[in-house]
Structure formats: structure tokens, C-alpha cells
């Protein structure tokens, strides 16, 4: 589903440039539940941005759903994001003046779907995350956990290939964090590829595979004992 070969990325800082990703190789198959672990500055957010087509890489190859990503202009990136990717952010990133239902329905608007159908599908997904009765609430009227559930519903609504979650529990307490992770697990069990970025060990432990990143290189890539106990060392 996601295949990365010798991926490099640097950011210019003044006259110098900061080499953030130093030749990553990573292969995530369809239906996997993977977490990227690393402290801040390890390059994990940069990796997610490139995988999420929010940023472009300098060198190397990136295949999304078998398609080589290159020479991507904004419009193509927008269409691919809409079609293949669902985003979940640490700070939820809901649109403040839209209610839960409208937030969930927004990606479908950009697919050009009609209003009634949009709302019907959005309501199904809100029901799936257990917030059907909160459909007409504004984000400010929802708790942190509820907001993140709305964001999960929004990420799922276009039926993407991959869910990308950037510190999905970073702004939540441990109980809510756990329930959000349960939700992601359930989605994964239904066959969705889920890609989580986190710096919390116990969150990473809930996924099936942990990729550890340090200073722009992968230092370990191992399966957890959630599904089986086989450990793969690099």
C-alpha cells in the first residue's frame, strides 16, 4: 500500500539545510496497523507529511497504492489525498463553525457529491463512531474525545485506502486515548490500513507493528505481540 525507497528530505534553514530524512526504506502492506515511534526531531512528522502528500520529498521513491508519486502539483495531490487518504490530527482540526455532521461530510463535498447523499453517508459514519446523536453539535460543544471521534469519522467517510493519524491521542487523557485507539483497532480489523505517529510507548504498543525512527533513520521495525509474537529485527 505504501512503499518508500531511499527517501531523503531536507529543509533549508538560513544558508544551511537540515537533513531530516536520511534514506528511509519502508513498506506497509494493505491492512496493516503500523505506528511510527520517535522523539521530536526524529523526522516522524516529516515522514507523515510526505506519506500524506502534504509535503514533497527530495530524493527517493514513494509509491502510494502502487502509483509512483512524482511531479505532483497541488491539484493532483488534492485529488489523491481525497481519494486515498484519511487524516486524523492531534489538534482534531475540525472547522469551528461547522457542526459535527457537516465536518464529516466536507471531504465528500470535495468529491462533488450531492448534499443529501453527503449528509446521509456522513451520518452513517457518525453512527459508526457512536456520535449520531451529536450530529448537529458544533466542535466547541464536544469533548476532546468526541472531537477526535468526529475527526475519525471524517477520515473514514471517503472510504480511503490509508488512515494517517498524527499523534491522535496527543491532546487526550489516558482513558479517552484508549477508547480512540480501540476505535482505530476496530477500523483496522475491518481491513483498513492505519498509520499512526506517536511518541508514546503505550500507544505504539497497541498497534501491530512499531517502526522506530531516530535522527532521520529507522533504528528498528518490529511486530508487537498483539497479533503474534514474531519479532523482526532490521
Amino acid at each position: 500500500m505504501i512503499k518508500i525507497e531511499k527517501l531523503h528530505k531536507s529543509y533549508p534553514i538560513g544558508k544551511d539545510s537540515l537533513h531530516v530524512l536520511k534514506g528511509l526504506d519502508l513498506h506497509i502492506k494493505e491492512g496493516e496497523f503500523v505506528s511510527i515511534m520517535g522523539s521530536s526531531g526524529s523526522g516522524k512528522s516529516t515522514l507523515l507529511n510526505i506519506v500524506g502528500l502534504l509535503d514533497v520529498h527530495d530524493e527517493g521513491y514513494y509509491y502510494l497504492n502502487g502509483q509512483l508519486i512524482e511531479n505532483l502539483d497541488e491539484k493532483k495531490a488534492a485529488i489523491l489525498r481525497n481519494k486515498f487518504l484519511g487524516f486524523i490530527f492531534q489538534s482534531f482540526n475540525l472547522i469551528t463553525y461547522k457542526n459535527a455532521l457537516e465536518n464529516v461530510a466536507l471531504p465528500l463535498y470535495y468529491q462533488g457529491m450531492g448534499r443529501k447523499e453527503r449528509q446521509k453517508i456522513a451520518l452513517q459514519y457518525l453512527d459508526k463512531v457512536g456520535l449520531k446523536d451529536r450530529a448537529d453539535h458544533l466542535p466547541s460543544e464536544l469533548s476532546g474525545g468526541e472531537k477526535q471521534r468526529v475527526a475519525v469519522a471524517r477520515a473514514l467517510v471517503t472510504n480511503p485506502k490509508v488512515i494517517l493519524a498524527d499523534e491522535p491521542t496527543g491532546a487526550l487523557d489516558s482513558i479517552t486515548s484508549h477508547s480512540v485507539m480501540e476505535l482505530l483497532k476496530e477500523i483496522n480489523r475491518e481491513g483498513m490500513t492505519v498509520f499512526v505517529i506517536t511518541h508514546e510507548e503505550d500507544i505504539a504498543e497497541e498497534t501491530d507493528r512499531i517502526v522506530r525512527l531516530k535522527d532521520g533513520v529507522i533504528i528498528s521495525d518490529e511486530k508487537t505481540n498483539n497479533k503474534n509474537n514474531i519479532k523482526v529485527s532490521v
Binding site: 502534504l54 485529488i79 481519494k83 487524516f87 457537516e102 470535495y110 450531492g114
Partner: protein, 410 residues
Amino acid sequence: MFDLDRWQEIFQTISKNKLRTALSGFTIAFAILLFTLLFGIGNGLKHTFEKNFAGDSENSVYINSGRTTKPYKGLQSGRQIQFRNDDSKFLNEKFENEIQFFSPSIQRFNVQATYKGEQNRYTIRGVYPDYQPLESAVIQEGRFLSYLDIERRSKVVAIGRMVEKDLFGGYSALGKNINLEGISYKVIGVFNDPGGDNDERFIYAPFSTIQGVYKENDEVDMFGLTYNSKLSADQALAFSNLLTIMLKEKHKVDPRDQSAIRVYNYAEGTKNVQQFMMVLNVIILFIGIGTLVAGIIGISNIMVYIVKERTKEMGIRKALGATPKSIISMIMLESVFITAIAGYSGLLIGVFALKAIGNGLEEYWIVNPSVETYVVIGATIVLIIAGTIAGYIPAKRAAEIKPIEALNDE
């Protein structure tokens, strides 16, 4: 083109962000309101000047006589110059090509006019039929004097609208007889005059009749004429100068004598008024454009602020699959929509305010302040274009910003 879904999205954004909408809408509405008011008041000033100088034909020349101030050719100073009928003939023969309308005139002030017990004092003028276009008098009932009246020395008068109002109350004066210092005249016409009430307090009678009643022999008080309107202002001045020289020569007046024969050419005044009007027009235009520019700058600032405020939202939308084009068109349609609606309401308020003012500010030299339809439409179009540009630049920037930067924007 019309995409219901897109408009629903825009209406939602507008209605859910009332403060923002109100703020930008107010700026535009206020700018246009000011524009309309200033423009309207400027036009009011213009109307005042037009009205004050519209009384007489612009190409008219009036010739008066007085006493000489310089001795000339053995004649003493202090001699009264008297025009006579042969001067009429002289002028008409010498300036056949230049003169358009011509009339000698005899004028008597404070003539008592009576009709069935109502009485008042007016200026009575004995004139030719050509005097009507000279004064720009407009007959509203009956007719003006005719050459037949002159020939027959008929005792008929054409009276001003105010005379009719004073003496006849609300009734028509046509066909009635009024008494002017003991002589009865039949009213054959009532006129109005764009020069205003004062010009409508005159009574016109056939020149020959008045000459017979008030003058000895063939004396004339003054001449009024209009020259061929094809003459340029400079040609017109040259014509009146030549006319002055020839008249002075005929009456043995020193060419340098300024008081014995006085020729007043409206061309001089017209030139000044036209220059003044031009300056006034430039000022009005400057104020109008200035206000519009201020409004455009205002809306641009607000658009930049709005886009900045919405950077994160743009990032979210882009992450969810919004193309740059859809972001640009959303911001721009919003901007154009608000600009058009607010601009139009400002305009309506302005136009109604001007209507309400009406002639209430006449004492401040502002008459009928109003804006022309083409100005109204022009300003609206300028605004919509401005709204488009004001929306486009920040919208383009918002669309170009990387979603990741937008999302990190707090």
C-alpha cells in the same frame, strides 16, 4: 456556472461568521455611502451654479448707454448718449451675419399693475419678438409678442408666471385685461423663465407700443442680441469689440470711454463659469475616486485579515481534498458576494438619503443633490471588480500555502 452546493457552502460561511461578514460589509457599504453622498452633494453644488447661470442665453450681448466721461471731437464730457431706432437698423445692417436674434428694449421699473383690485409693481419692457429667445423665456400659455403686434402698436402683454400668480390668484390671466398706469392691456401669454422667480416678474409689451407711451420719438434704452452660436468664445469677443468700436464711432464717443456705451458680452462670464464648473467637476471626481480607493484599500485589508484568520481552515480543507482552484473560487465568490450586496445597500441608503435631503440644503448652495444612473452602475461595477481583485490576491496566496504550514498555523 451556478453551483447550488458551492453557494450553500458560501452562504454557510457568511452566515456562520457574522462579525467578519458585518465588518467587511460595513466597510464597503460605508465607502459607497460616502461616495454617493459626496458625489450627490457635489452635483448639488453644480446644479446651483447651472441654475444661477442658466437664466439667459449663453451667447447673448447687452448694450446700454450712459453719460460720456471724456471729451471727444470737440464735444464735452458728461453728455448723455441716447440710442435711437436708427441704431437698431445700423447694427442689423453692419452685423447681418453675426446676429442671430435682435431686439431693442425700453424698460420702466415699478410700474403699477392692477387687476380687479389686486395690484403690484413690476418692471415693464417694450421689446421685439426676438426678446423671448434672448431671455430664454418659455411660453406656458397663450403666445409671445408678434411682429404684427409691433406693427399695429397693439396694447397686449405677455406676463411672467409670478405676475399671474400675484394678480390673478390661481386663475388663468389669458384674455384678461390688466391696467398699467391707466392704460389697459390684454394678456396674450404667460411665460416662465429658467432664470427663476425674478425673471418671471417681468411684463413684456410690443416695443412700438411702449415707445409710444413712455418715450419721445424714437428713443431706445438698450439693445439685446444673441450672436450666431457657431462663433467661438474668442470670435464672439472680437465681434462685440468691433460692435462697441463702431457704435462709439457713430455716437462720437472716445474709444477709451468706458461708461457712455457699455457692451456686456455673456461669453466672458460663460468662459469663467465653464472654467469654474470644470474645476468643480475635477474636485468631485477626485473626491469620488478617493472615497472609492479608500473603500478598496479597506476591503483589501479585511480580505488579507480574513484569509490569514482562515489559514488553518484552508489547510484542513486542502488536507481533505480541496484543490487550490476550489479554495480561490470560494474566497473570491464570498468576497464578490459581500462586496456586491454591501455596496448596493450603501448605494441605496445614499440615494435615499440624497432624496431625503432634496432641496433642504438650498441655503448652503446645494440644489437637488443626486447621482446619475451611470455613476451608480459604474461605482457598483468598480466595486465588484475591486472585490474580485481584493479577494483574488489573498485567495491565491492561501491556495498556494502548503497545507502542512497552514495546519501548523495557530
